[in-house]
Symmetry: C2
Subunit: 347 residues, 2 copies
Amino acid sequence: MARARIAIIGTGLIGTSIGLGLAARKDREYEIVGIDKNRGHVREAKKLGAIDREAGSLEEALKDTGLVIVAVPTMAARQILKDSVPYLAEGAIITDTCSTKADIMHWAAEFLPETVNFVGGHPMAGREISGPGAGKLDLFHGATWAITPSPRADEQAVNIVLGLIESLGAIPLYIDAAEHDTYAAAVSHVPILMSVALFRMVRDSQGWEDASFLAGTGFRDLTRLASGDPTMSRDIMSSNREAVLHWLGRLEEELGNVRRALEVGDPVLTDLFASTQLDRDTFLTNPPQRRVPEGPETPNASDTMRRMFFGGFYDRLKDVTNKPGVDRNSEELRRRLGIDENGNARN
Amino acid sequence: MARARIAIIGTGLIGTSIGLGLAARKDREYEIVGIDKNRGHVREAKKLGAIDREAGSLEEALKDTGLVIVAVPTMAARQILKDSVPYLAEGAIITDTCSTKADIMHWAAEFLPETVNFVGGHPMAGREISGPGAGKLDLFHGATWAITPSPRADEQAVNIVLGLIESLGAIPLYIDAAEHDTYAAAVSHVPILMSVALFRMVRDSQGWEDASFLAGTGFRDLTRLASGDPTMSRDIMSSNREAVLHWLGRLEEELGNVRRALEVGDPVLTDLFASTQLDRDTFLTNPPQRRVPEGPETPNASDTMRRMFFGGFYDRLKDVTNKPGVDRNSEELRRRLGIDENGNARN
């Protein structure tokens, strides 16, 4: 009997952390395969126990695989979606971890056959170091994980991705892709630019050495995002440029407000610091509550977990693995891909 | 025989953390007294074991005390220096933890008698929460602790403050007060303003609730400094305004550079992210090395520790405690303070 299989495409920080979480399930009955354009990364992920096996090719990774997790920067994810088409099993579930969601949803709709289920995802977690060695079993514990299902994805597929998210200890958040990108620009993408600007400001100053001696946890925390993967950052800015430029303008305005408070002095200055401390503490201790929608759109977490690991998920993966090659024989797929009856994709 | 005594003025985050470190020394032969204008804070510090005893007044805290640690915001520190004058023991060592150093050095020279030793200090460590409950034994472990001795402070006094710093696990850095303030503005004070601006930008936007759901570790880290004590932040900006405004202008320029990179796109954008990642990683793994001066200005850490806890420090504190009231009988002090022969200070 074929084993259920999960494929992780990209075994950097995020892919490896996902793999560590999935591999840690003692009751698991699925195999985890991994692939990365950086062979060293996939070998390290295997050594760390994040994957069971390295796939030698995208075809090998995707063949008969029920759940595909694309954990690479946005532009690379675009290419992987394109390249995956000939190999995706019918009914397979594909999810991603890209920092922007509108583009990837667009590409999924453009490239992927209707026989597969694309469920966009974005874990709001990271570290200042990258690569598989930075992977952590608990990287996603308590983190928000945005989920943007495609209209075509069926409910069971969405629930399986929810189960994946919850099994990693994260909190799923349904959100529209465009809305995600607008707000992610404010809370995630512009902060990257702030980190870069602050670091460059000090690093490029004549007093860099002396300043560096004084740099403590504040400087380190505020420049942390400047150590992120440059390709990821570039892709984020390219695929969310308009929103990022909007919020960058807003940030400049806020810095102008701060400057004026400095110039005016008290009581404006103390009020600014005191109200911001209060607002932020309230955000930390009593954050805005999500209005969770009622009904079938709100799967029960433990149901989803059970389904994923013991019930529907396993059955689903088994279903897929029992129908090898079905994807390449579909008329719909051949049309979409422009492949011949022998299943050879034209590249 | 009188016990050697250390006084901590201000038992918030910093004062309590210092007390916890000093109290943890099993071999200690000194008493730690604490005082805070917030009585709840000093009681909590005592409960936490950061101080042995609450002093009922500044006089009680300072009388016969060998080492005084002023751990309050800058403007409050100014007042404490002024108010302390009648009570400081001859030969006492006074240090502080203020975030700016030029003003406090100026005030120490202006207010304090020549019979005491002022050694300015600034631990480059903090937390996003304040108060004694936030105090941590290891808050200063590995942190830089700037030290700005007054020209009048004798070498032994400086060594005792060095011993204090090193016993808390921090790394002392000799620096000129003005130079400290210039660079602290870049790596510490402007980052506070950045945190405030970023938090306000998102908090005051119409999409705050939705954005808050997506806010992950990046947003939390980059806005951490906005939760700092408002009085401390206000004092920092007031006492280092010129330097802060200078660096704020530089930050705005850097954000302009980042904006241009976004508009131009690659290869400029990727180059910016890649070179900044490289530079920051180099800073973390291989930071600029301090050119440590040779000779008596470089006390050996273990010597200093030994001196502080077993040798000179204890002797020194004992000396002081064996000469109660000597300060108030000094002609020099009476002149400076305008007190009468009975030692009654005119307030």
